[in-house]
């Protein structure tokens, strides 16, 4: 259901979403950090999209890992490197395949989330992108186990992402520049979580449009 062409379309879709939401990302990151997230996320996905759009890679895992490597180089901010790590670990997990099944996609997101947790020395609950991608991975695992169809799978992922973003808003930042604001961060959106939602939404865009 999800081959390299879909992955290319996914990267492209995330790029468009980041471009569209650049101002909003700058805004939320300015409130808790240095405001660069709008720039680093657009740069990461624009570069990956440009460098991979005519790739002739057929291994979907290798393709996704490569996307991560490109992002690491292009956008070495915290989120740039975390998201890069996510793609690299997720890609490694689904190597030697030309197509991802529903449970492969769940494995990809689990490895994506675990990679960020390891790299960021964090866990769910610390008001980070993890609070979006960890519940997304769980939702996908459950949907795959239930044998959900594509529509239900996507819906499960996206609603987990939105709920995660909302939950993160009520948490207190523990990492990075935001951590110095402590209690003041409660009630404000986490920039990384916001970007995480866009990644999840863009990732499933090709599946969603195939399904229409």
């Amino acid at each position: 259901m999800f081959d390299v062409e879909a992955a290319k379309a996914a990267v492209h879709a995330i790029r468009l979403l980041m471009d569209e939401n650049q101002e909003r990302l700058i805004e939320v990151d300015s409130a808790l950090g240095d405001g660069d997230l709008g720039l680093t996320m657009t740069k990461a996905f624009r570069t990956a999209d440009e460098q991979l759009s005519d790739s002739d890679e057929s291994d979907i895992g290798t393709f996704l890992a490569k996307a991560g490597m490109i992002m690491a180089k292009a956008a070495p901010s915290t989120m740039g490197t975390l998201v890069a790590t996510g793609f690299m670990r997720g890609g490694k997990m689904v190597k030697d395949k030309t197509e991802l099944s529903a449970s492969d996609i769940a494995s990809f997101f689990r490895a994506f989330s675990d990679g960020i947790i390891e790299r960021g020395k964090t866990k769910p609950g610390n008001k980070t992108i993890v609070d979006v991608v960890d519940p997304v991975a769980t939702a996908l695992e459950e949907a795959a186990a239930r044998g959900d169809g594509v529509g239900a799978l996507v819906e499960a992922a996206e609603s987990a992402a939105s709920m995660g973003e909302e939950a993160a808003r009520q948490m207190m930042s523990q990492h990075g520049k935001a951590a110095v604001y402590r209690e003041q961060t409660i009630g404000k959106p986490d920039p990384g979580a916001t970007a995480g939602v866009l990644i999840v939404r863009g990732f499933f865009e090709p599946v969603r449009s195939m399904n229409r």
Binding site: A72, K73, K121, G176, K177, V180
Partner: protein, 336 residues
């Protein structure tokens, strides 16, 4: 209004690096076809642990200014206030590995940590042993008991200096790391700022400090400090800072220390010495003796007005290492 000597703001970091490389070709070079991967001109130095650092630009002499004899072997250079990439760190690592492994010494900022960890993982894949020491000694950035959350600022100078001298002795990676940890654990820093900075690509101040106000404990990227208040006299400011620094380690009667009075960018050297006068008085009163004082710019934040005080407790081992000669484009010291 941005009053700076610049060409295109987006070229600022690379043009600065071109200037540094043009000025010090006998001391520095770049590798991997990337200006932002700076190493000693004679790298790799064989049979010596390689010391690498890295971090955002805008803090000269930090970070690349300490690459040179007796201190560091290489530095990955980021954009202004931004981490370099893990790939750049990896290139530096490969270029300075003299066969005894590489120690990363850098400040406690999450972007840097994440990238250095990634670089270490990649280096291990290339069979280079890597260890890391993350410096954090700013007492204003987290309370006692949460030392691992503290920012690394000017005090990292002592870590570079002592670890660099140890590496020169031919010590192995674990031993050099032990010295880095020991120096890092022996130093405490606190800063005060009077004015903000303008990041060239942003073009306007990222925060403000009111007329007649100062922020005690502010970080070098404008991280909020301990308190904001009306501008005090030099003596009052120093007293407040030393009252936080001394009990934190704690430093006490009979201790021998080195002091670093660090200008953040725009504060005249004259004022740093007015501040040091009070530091010396306070240390004298407490029976703490000063082995060596450094006054100048060691870790800055572009044109920020302010200064930081670092105090480093010395034992015979650290004292001997601190005393060794060093020569980098930004720091030169004869054997003491």
């Amino acid at each position: 209004m941005m009053k700076k000597f610049l060409n295109r703001p987006e070229d600022f970091v690379d043009e600065m690096l071109q200037g540094i490389l043009a000025a010090h070709p006998d001391q520095l070079k770049y590798v991997a076809d990337d200006l932002r991967c700076i190493v000693r001109a004679d790298a790799p130095v064989s049979s010596k642990v390689g010391l690498a650092t890295g971090g955002g630009s805008g803090h000269l002499p930090l970070f690349l200014g300490y690459v040179g004899k007796g201190m560091l072997d290489g530095c990955a250079v980021g954009g202004v206030f931004q981490s370099p990439s893990s790939e750049q760190m990896l290139e530096v690592t490969k270029a300075i590995n003299g066969g005894k492994g590489v120690l990363y010494i850098y400040g406690n900022y999450s972007g840097d940590i994440i990238n250095f960890d990634m670089a270490a993982e990649m280096a291990e894949l290339e069979d280079i042993s890597v260890a890391s020491y993350v410096a954090g000694e700013d007492v204003a950035s987290a309370p006692k008991g949460e030392e691992q959350k503290r920012r690394g600022v000017a005090g990292i100078f002592y870590v570079y200096k002592c670890a660099g001298a140890k590496a020169d002795e031919g010590a192995d990676l674990a031993e050099v790391k032990r010295i880095a940890e020991k120096a890092g654990a022996s130093v405490r820093t606190m800063g005060v700022a009077l004015s903000p900075v303008i990041v060239p690509e942003v073009g306007k101040p990222s925060f403000t400090i009111g007329e007649g106000e100062m922020e005690i404990g502010m970080g070098i990227h404008g991280e909020p400090g301990i308190r904001r208040g009306k501008l005090l006299t030099a003596d009052e400011v120093v007293q407040e800072m030393m009252d936080k620094i001394i009990p934190d380690l704690p430093f006490g009667k009979g201790d021998e220390v080195s002091v670093l009075v660090n200008g953040l960018g725009a504060t005249p050297r004259e004022e740093l010495y007015v501040a040091y006068r009070k530091v010396a008085e306070i240390l004298g009163q407490q029976g703490i003796s000063v082995f060596k004082t450094y006054v100048g710019e060691f870790a800055t934040s572009l044109e920020m007005t302010g200064f930081s005080l670092s105090v480093c407790k010395l034992d015979a081992e650290l004292k001997a290492l601190l005393s060794k000669a060093a020569r980098t484009p930004f720091f030169e010291q004869v054997q003491l």
